[in-house]
Subunit: 339 residues, 2 copies
Amino acid sequence: MIDHLAIIGATGVVGREVIDLVRERSFPAGRIALFASPRSAGEKMNVNGRELIVEAIHEDKLSDVDIAIFSAGTPVSEEFAPVITRNGGVVVDNSSAFRMTPDVPLVIPEINADDIATHKGIVANPNCTTIMMLMAVAPIHRKFPIKRIVVSTYQAASGAGLAAMNELRTQTRDVLDGREAVPKQFPHPIAFNLFAHDSATAENGYNGEENKVVAETRKILHEPEMAVAVTCVRVPVLRAHSESINLEFHEPVSCEDVRAIFTDCPGTRLVDDRAESHFPMPVEASGKDDVFVGRIRQDISLPDGRGVELFVCGDQIRKGAALNALQIAERLVEIAAAT
Amino acid sequence: MIDHLAIIGATGVVGREVIDLVRERSFPAGRIALFASPRSAGEKMNVNGRELIVEAIHEDKLSDVDIAIFSAGTPVSEEFAPVITRNGGVVVDNSSAFRMTPDVPLVIPEINADDIATHKGIVANPNCTTIMMLMAVAPIHRKFPIKRIVVSTYQAASGAGLAAMNELRTQTRDVLDGREAVPKQFPHPIAFNLFAHDSATAENGYNGEENKVVAETRKILHEPEMAVAVTCVRVPVLRAHSESINLEFHEPVSCEDVRAIFTDCPGTRLVDDRAESHFPMPVEASGKDDVFVGRIRQDISLPDGRGVELFVCGDQIRKGAALNALQIAERLVEIAAAT
């Protein structure tokens, strides 16, 4: 039990999901405070059956926060996370502000929960694409060391926020009605289209999202040299990310061995029915806590069975952001209770 | 100039495009006959400014056909292609009926046009996914031999025909209006969703579409051992396929060397603007003859620069089917004229 939980970015797509999950999972907080930008302040939101008023974030209001979950973007995290930690609180940060900071643990609780204990006031939540991939890849890697990962993503609009999800809906109706698709949130039309993730291309040719996946994977797995090739693509799907993952191993690994891992793997669900052609799909993974794993098969391009391929889908807003953050917060409560 | 061109499956999505392309490219035929199933017979279609009546296909009507372009599915090709060849005509077949038959050339004219001359009456048109991939991969392989291809696809509804395209539109509107998505053509909802290609899963774990890509790639490139790992996925896009392609080479190859190939490569268009984040997209490739190639970058997961990644989009109905078939027919006319 903690006295005071602050949900920062409460009116955004992730913040709203955090609020839902606080109720669903009976998060043990005496008091909950909601913060957002001045623009959204004053909005009333239902939290655990009580009506709370969203406050404009200000450092004077953050003095006695025990845990703060930030889902308001990098600038807000950079400005206000230090306020929380200075006052002895702990930050769970959904932005990319601190993910690669050396003394900030980057955590997926099913994978590297032990890293939380090393925190100095901030625990970072990984990028949603990294989370989906590692929920499937980390348990495999633990048992059968992976030599190289090649992944292509199918990322939902939700990763770009509520306005982007609405743009997908509005623009799709426009196209169906014979009107032109006018992009506002995204740089390109999203209705019946797809495009390379629009984060800027870095010097190495990978875009920002792709470089995040590589760097975060290495940090979470504690494998600073892990070979990861990644292509990030935005698709006209609302809220679940999908990923086509090709794994190369040092030794032969059978797809049966990999499938066996997911018959009992926390946070995942095996969806792999070849006879019915039923595999992970975004519409089925949407709103679910588990990451769906399937299409597990031998890579026929590698000699001696040294490759396995799979396909995953997971709810970008839940496990990709809000749920993972709340799971971290739950661990922080346990740690606080134990000390 | 040939006397008699038959377009079989004239009322389907590919047949209609063949008719458009015959006009657009001034295909040199004295007479054009349109055939379809008895259900579609009697429909009037405009061909080169003349109104033609679609006839029910029957072997008595195929006695003097010089070239027949089949886009009516495997059973129709299996039944009527032998009728054409028996009468001395040549078949260009869009179905998968004869693609892997040893003495049937499987041809993408920009890549292996010379194979056409070896035909025994039938020339097969490759699977659309194979065509898109090889339009980019074959010119690279010719210059820098490829060791292994890992590809994940983003396939449009058009690959499953006109009814599937309509299902994507109708179902999307249903979802936007709050109604349930009811799949009929596809086994799963396609609106705001994606799923593994629904061809049956074979013994090796690959589905039918994936095994086609592997086998056809090897045949077209004359590389019976070419290592290809492929994941085929259907996405809510109307008529252009996209593919995320990872290439591993025997030797280091720079992305500049690969990009240089596409500054002047017939049938392709380089779309690779990192500054503007403008890369190949299905809405831009739709209705175009060229396959768009971009996101050419070094694979950072392979040592010594032995990997390059790229992204392609191409119109599934045009280059993926109708255009490629008509290009083959054009070559057949040239061969006939030269002999």
